[in-house]
Amino acid sequence: MSATAAHDDHHGLAHTMSPKMLIGIWAALIALTGFTVWTAGLHLHPFDLVIAMIIATVKALLVALFFMHLLYDRPFNGLVFMLSFVFAAIFVVFSMFDTGNNQTLIAARSEVAPVVEEWRATIVEEAAEGDMEYIRGLVDGSIPFEHEGHGEAAEGAPEGDGAAAGH
């Protein structure tokens, strides 16, 4: 069998984690989760991504080494697992590098996605005709609201058909 830490049990076929270790690791993971949410709130641009990834990697290591017993497992299993990250990295980095190189080519012709364009057009049109007084009236009930679907209700708006909400 493989290496064992002196303070841990070893039963039968594989290493056994002690309850103390399990809870300890878990508590660390929870703490790190809180920490990463907190750092994200600080807006540490441009380091935020790096920090978040470092924390995630620490968490991943804790899970892999202890919950997944990699620390006590056969080294080959760990090697196999590491290998997957190496190959995933090759894949991601090579592809990214190429796309990064071509960014200008793509940007030269990238068009605004038609669906977004359409969406913006309708909204801006609708917004042009909105009226705060009417809105407040609707909310506090001083303007009666005919419950016959949005479209018709909106037609009662002072200025216009543009406010007809598109559903």
């Binding site: 080959f76 894949f91 590098f97 190189n101 012709r109």
Partner: protein, 580 residues
């Protein structure tokens, strides 16, 4: 990890296999369709793969012949089918030819069929590590094949086997069905890979360190590494493609700001290593055959073994050489081109080692060896023409021309399929317990060799002339070589018919096969032909140097090889010169 120590001391305990085959073997121990379709026996699973692969091969081959026939003359000779024009019919046929041959034939051919049969026996084991997973992966293969058939019947597929976006996201054929089929076949391949990897790692018999393994197992191991590392990426790519097509994912679609070239990165990250899934097992088979039929210990064992792993790993760094003209950045193209050449080195090493193995041997020209020699020549051409495609400015000229078509057929058919047939002939007596007729076997091989060269060599000329691939029709100046090529296709067909007839005939009228007809020393030859249900009747022989062919001597009386125990002199010689 495993030890690499020699176990010469225990080798003498190896027991000669029983020459008289037991009445019960894996073929007749139980009967009925279900006893096959739900068997956990790796040998039966291997045979089912073999049958399924042959059926797929026939279908893919039919499409190929139809294509070649259409190309005999310029102009369209196909009929329009329904609302599909003749060109559309042609496009669907070449797509299905490619997809079937790649996903259903070449990739599973050697690992899933021969590997399944031979690998556990070579390891002296009862079965692979996960027999149920093995069966599951066969069932996945069947389901994947059904998806392909559904594609064929339900409206076809016309994207080319490469599924390039945005054509694949905009065409109106059954892309999603086909993609799901390939996805499922991918998982079949992954599970086979996991199974073989674990089996080789954890179930080597006593005395077999990693560097005492037969080279076939090294090839299988390297293949499994690729299957495990590359195939998942194909899976996710195809899934993304299916979703891109159904809801407009936007990642590959330029209309949504995506990048179609990205799809090619995703696709070739799998599909380039996949060509090594295709060729490595072929090389593995050849390593066995060359040694046994030269009656010589394999030369440069360690280099052949390690070169397999090197090919498997380097194969992951070179996918961009499919994209020199695709709009890939110049920097990436340069890097990929440089690394591409590194993959050629291990292949060259293997080639030279095989040749040196033959040097001063006693070369028995039986069918497996004829196929193996054919492999060396055809793969030689296939490999060398690959150099033109790895070199950047010549690739710019050759990309998507018939030169590429000729090149990859030389590698996949001349390489993999030749090794596959060599392997089938080599293990046929073991699998079926019958000897085939030697003469028609050799004639079949030679006719196929002739036909193959007449079929594909002119395509190099067409490539040089600038004939693009995937053309339903061509300009008149290309006519001559297309016609020669089509004639070659029919000669190849004749060769393959002879092969099929020869093998089928042996089932009914073949002589009963001895345990060891060729004198190989890998463990499958230590058991009867066909093997019993649990592979070894009495005792599992201890692994020895798999290429020590002196352990077997020809016995004219039984027309087979019989085991010769190690003498004191052998042991002394070994002590003086450790084999590797």
């Amino acid at each position: 990890m495993s030890s690499t120590t020699q176990t010469t001391g225990t080798a003498t305990t190896a027991v000669a296999p029983q020459q008289s085959s037991p009445s019960e073997n894996y073929l007749n121990c139980s009967k009925g369709f279900l006893s096959w379709f739900f068997t956990l026996d790796h040998k039966r699973i291997g045979i089912m793969y073999l049958c399924a692969i042959f059926v797929s091969f026939a279908l893919g081959g039919f499409f190929a012949l139809a294509l070649r026939t259409e190309l005999f003359f310029p102009g369209m000779d196909f009929p329009a089918i329904g609302s599909r024009s003749p060109e559309a019919v042609y496009n669907q046929m070449f797509t299905l030819h490619g997809a079937i041959m790649v996903f259903l034939v070449i990739i599973p051919s050697i690992p899933a069929a021969l590997g399944n049969f031979v690998l556990p026996i070579m390891l002296g084991q009862v079965d692979v590590a996960f027999p149920r997973l093995n069966l599951f992966s066969f069932h996945l293969y069947v389901i994947g094949a059904i998806f392909f058939v559904a594609t064929l019947l339900g409206g076809g597929l016309d994207t080319g086997w490469t599924f390039y976006t945005p054509y694949s996201t905009s065409t109106d054929t059954m892309v999603i069905t086909a993609v799901m089929g390939a996805f499922i076949l991918g998982f079949s391949s992954i599970f086979t890979g996991i199974n073989f990897m674990v089996t080789i790692h954890k179930m080597r018999p006593p005395g077999m360190g990693f560097f005492n393994m037969p080279l076939f197992l090294w090839g299988m191991y390297a293949t499994a590494v690729i299957q495990v590392l590359a195939t998942p990426v194909l899976g996710i790519t195809l899934l993304m493609l299916a979703i891109e097509r159904s809801v407009g994912l936007g990642i590959f679609d330029p209309a949504l700001g995506g990048d179609p070239v990205l799809f090619q990165h995703f696709f070739w990250f799998y599909s380039h290593p996949a060509v090594y899934i295709m060729i490595l097992p072929g090389m593995a088979v050849i390593s066995e055959i060359i040694s046994v039929f030269s009656r010589k210990h394999i030369f440069g064992y360690k280099f052949i073994a390690i070169s397999s792993i090197a090919i498997a790993l380097f194969g992951f760094f070179v996918w961009g050489h499919h994209m020199f003209t695709s709009g890939q950045s110049t920097a990436m193209s340069t890097i990929f081109s440089a690394i591409t050449f590194s993959v050629a080195v291990p292949s060259a090493i293997k080639m030279f080692n095989w040749m040196t193995t033959m040097y001063k041997g006693e070369i028995v020209l039986k069918a497996p060896m004829v196929w193996a020699l054919g492999f060396m020549w055809l793969f030689g051409i296939g490999g060398l023409t690959g150099l033109f495609l790895g070199t950047m400015n010549t690739d710019v000229y050759y990309h998507d021309t018939y030169f590429v078509v000729a090149h990859f057929h030389y590698v996949m058919v001349g390489g993999t399929l030749w090794a596959f047939f060599g392997g089938i002939y080599y293990w046929w007596p073991k699998i079926t317990g019958k000897m085939y007729d030697e003469k028609p076997a050799i004639i079949g091989s030679l006719v196929a060799l002739l036909g193959f060269n007449v079929l594909f060599f002119p395509q190099f000329f067409l490539g040089n002339m600038g004939m693009p691939r995937r053309y339903a029709d061509y300009l008149p100046e290309f006519t001559l070589w297309h016609q020669v090529s089509t004639i070659g296709a029919y000669i190849l067909l004749v060769g393959l018919v002879i092969v099929a007839w020869n093998l089928l005939k042996s089932l009914t009228s073949g002589r009963k096969a001895p345990a060891n007809p060729w004198g190989g020393n890998t463990l499958e030859w230590h058991t009867s032909s066909p093997p019993p249900h649990y592979n070894f009747e009495n005792s599992i022989p201890t692994a020895d140097d798999p290429y020590d062919l002196d352990r077997w001597a020809w016995d004219p009386e039984t027309q087979s090889y019989v085991h010769v125990p190690l003498t004191e002199a052998d042991l002394a010689a070994r002590a003086a010169h450790p084999a590797h």
